[in-house]
Amino acid sequence: MGYIPHSPAERSALLREIGAASVDDLFSTVPRAVYRTEPPALPAPQSEIELRRGMAAMAGKNADGSRWASFLGAGLYAHHSPAFVSQLLLRGEFLTAYTPYQAEVSQGTLTAIYEFQTHVALLTGMDIANASMYEGASAFVEAVLMAERLSKKRSKVVVSKGVHPEYLTALGTYLANFPFQIVQVPLGPDGRTDAAALAAAVDETTFAVGLQSPNVVGVVEDWQAAADAAHAKGALAIGAVNEMFSLAVLKAPGHAGMDIACGEAASFGVPPSFGGPLVGFLACRDAFKRQIPGRLVGRAVDAQGHEGFCLTLSTREQHIRRERATSNICTNQGLMALAATMTLSALGKNGLRETAVQCLSKAEYFKALVKAKAGAGPCSLAFAGPTFNEFALRCAVPVDTVLSALEAKGILGGVPMARIAPREGAWKDLLLVAVTERNTREQIDRAAEVLRSIR
């Protein structure tokens, strides 16, 4: 039955060898009051034929990016994933292996993680990166906790409201029981974090400043200004990125003064999958490596001088340092980090740039249509600040009206800011529109035409 190999005869033989009369004998130390001899109230088992039918029926009820023109982003961007990536992820040697604690039989996974660490370090302009975090929000939280440990006895973290609202909610959740204060700095009229307010919020009790670029409304931030504000008071600067293709055309956080970079790397070949599994990352300067959370892979040699890779600096982690560990993370996003590594390898230096330029050019094309004389009906650009591949529209009619009109033409038009930040009244008429290399000019023209038709 199912995936259990024993025939009834083999099962009896095993019981006989053990000296047990029945399977129930093996559970003799379970209190009888809770031991269930009746099957659970679940349906009958399903074969592959039935599973395919039932699951496909559920999948068929969802609007997917292969049938719809999608402009959804807001922290997760649907880029092209090369065909070989999904297929190589199915290789059992990757798929069904455990965390590579036993280096001699895990060189495939270990080498790939070393490459992932290198890709993330290069993209972010940092010295080192870890083997992955769960996703962007928890990576951001871990970066803040890491900065606090490095600061010794400071108590305040200053974050821009341009950081994804779900990252900020998660930060509140994780920090709820620590004596730390979280101060939020608003965005200015151009969509960038208010630089003066940021500098004013940072003081000698501040251990970190957190900024995201492009930020949640798509606007490119000034890393250096935030880093300078942090460093002026002895705090560390954390740069969050969740559209990693931006780093092919925009200055890296590590090249502009930031101390820790973190965020979401799912743009590289990881399908959106209704929000997970994705792949968080955390990178930093060499000087902070002893406080980095999560796994790290290092280069090593064996007794014969053969080069290989192994997990290293493990004493930071929970299985050794327990309650004094840098994080409680154990299982991470290994296979998704592998997907990102394979995608980055295929894109390479040139593909990264070409994809980024396509995203940028198509987003600018869409913005130009909105700004053109013919306009976009009730929608206008909300912010003047520079953007990469996502921008906010301000809608003079309810955002839902705009989305419904687009939906009628097969278009998933964008993410209402009210959905991700329901408490921010000033954002309730904003619609976030993201464009990737998967979007065509025809889709953009069609969307603009729908917007113009809205009365």
């Binding site: 199912g2 259990i4 130390t29 269930r36 099957p39 659970p40 109230a41 349906p43 699951m55 969802n62 649907a78 090369p82 070989f84 190589l88 040697e93 990757f94 455990y98 001699e104 039989v105 895990s106 495939g108 996974t109 660490q117 290198t118 370090a121 290069l122 083997a131 992955s132 769960y134 929000a137 906790l145 994804h164 909610t169 959740t173 200055k251 997970g276 599994p277 994705l278 790290l296 280069r299 064996d302 290293t312 600096l313 929970q318 299985h319 309650e323 409680n328 993370i329 299982t331 290994g334 295929a346 894109l347 390479g348 230096k349 940028l360 600018e364 989305l403 939906e407 998933l412 000019r441």
Partner: protein
Amino acid sequence: MSDTSAPGAPAARTDRRRREGSLFDLSHPGRTGVALPPLDVPAIDPPALFGSAHRSEVAGEVEASEVDVVRHFTRLSQLNFAIDTALYPLGSCTMKHNPRINEEVARLAGFSDVHPYTAEHLVQGALELLWLLEERLKTLTGFARVTLQPSAGANGELAGTLMIRAAHVARGNARRHILVPDSAHGTNPASAHFAGYSVIELASNARGTLDLAELEAKLTDEVAALMITVPNTLGVFEENILKITEMVHAKGALVYLDGANFNAFVGKVRPADMGVDVMHMNLHKTFSTPHGGGGPGAGPVGVGPALVPYLPTPTVERDGEVFRLSYDRPGSIGRMRTFHGNFGVLVRALTYIESYGNTIPEVAEAAVLNANYLRKRLEPFYHLKYDAPSYHEVVFSDRKQAAGGIHNIDIAKRLMDYGFHPPTMSFPLIVPGALMIEPTESEPKEELDAFADAMIAIAKECQETPELVHGAPHTTPVGRLDDASTAREASKPGSFAPVLRAPVR
């Protein structure tokens, strides 16, 4: 040094099929592995738009063709050991077969190519799936609700302990401590710490289970919860679990169950019936989602009525035939992460649960049967510190072999030469030289026998040819790596390349 190569063939470790290295060393300027359609809108010149914020290239990035990349990663895969190859007896990790129908279903475009912020009326199937999985897990655990949001087991532990804290805060006192047995997984004390609690360790008794006198002594009014693993990391069921949960509740504290070992009793015991208030489940263990070389996992958390007000948001609710996301939970701890959890992992887990349906107790039965069979075969050859009945795993130690200078690590490495992955060795901390073996229900008798034969052969080698064991492994792509030198080098200030990443060439 032994070698399995045929005469005249290159030695294993110089064979190019077994030596790959990093792709950063195999890069060729000008190559690329992805082709995009021609740009169908006017090209933007990034420096013109971004000025000083512009970056002209990601220096040091790889340049390779699709052939280069596919070959590189295929070769890398061949350097890994995996469940698909043979028994993978890592205790506590539940390395069971990963059914491929799960992978196929998770790759349906209607699941994989769906954005989490798609309007709710356009993702009714995805919301239905989340609702259905929660129902299934409620049935199997007896809990009032289950949050599917946590990304992995440790993330679930943190969510659970944060909810415990929120419940105590609502009653007026957060309390200060969480009790954790000395046999616990390392994530337990780490998670308790990140929820703001200090950890008090409970010494195990001679059977390896919780000592009731020790619990009584340490169970003060300042204890917020007991975190307990059932069966514990020795594979032993806490016979007194009902008494334990009663004692903890009598002090106003809550019981957290680490569900890492749910595979031992899924369908046979509902944790809520034992008095457990909150428990995480590792879907990548009990519910067969692939470990993927270190993730992704998923760590749903089931809670009893007392903790329902504090669940992370959003939850999925059903109104008649319509499914919706609900953020209406004023006491919520907030969010563990973005979006709705590791949805793709949840799809796989539901597919697995539906494949067994009401026969799922057979999973636990076969897992316990297999572990006991291995125990029976290996007991004459390896020391068993705690001889209480075993469930899904059995923890031997190297005590008999250590007398001759051979330790668990040597036995583990020698197992690789026999074609098996080693058992878990790093814990439980109460068994020095641990060899923690969990075969899972996936293994047929002949594979269990092959593994037992290998372990027995190694026990003989420890006496007759100990140098063979000491020097193992002999047949893997690399020998034992000098991880001390790597850690020393990685610890030095400024040493990051090439030890922790490839240098920019």
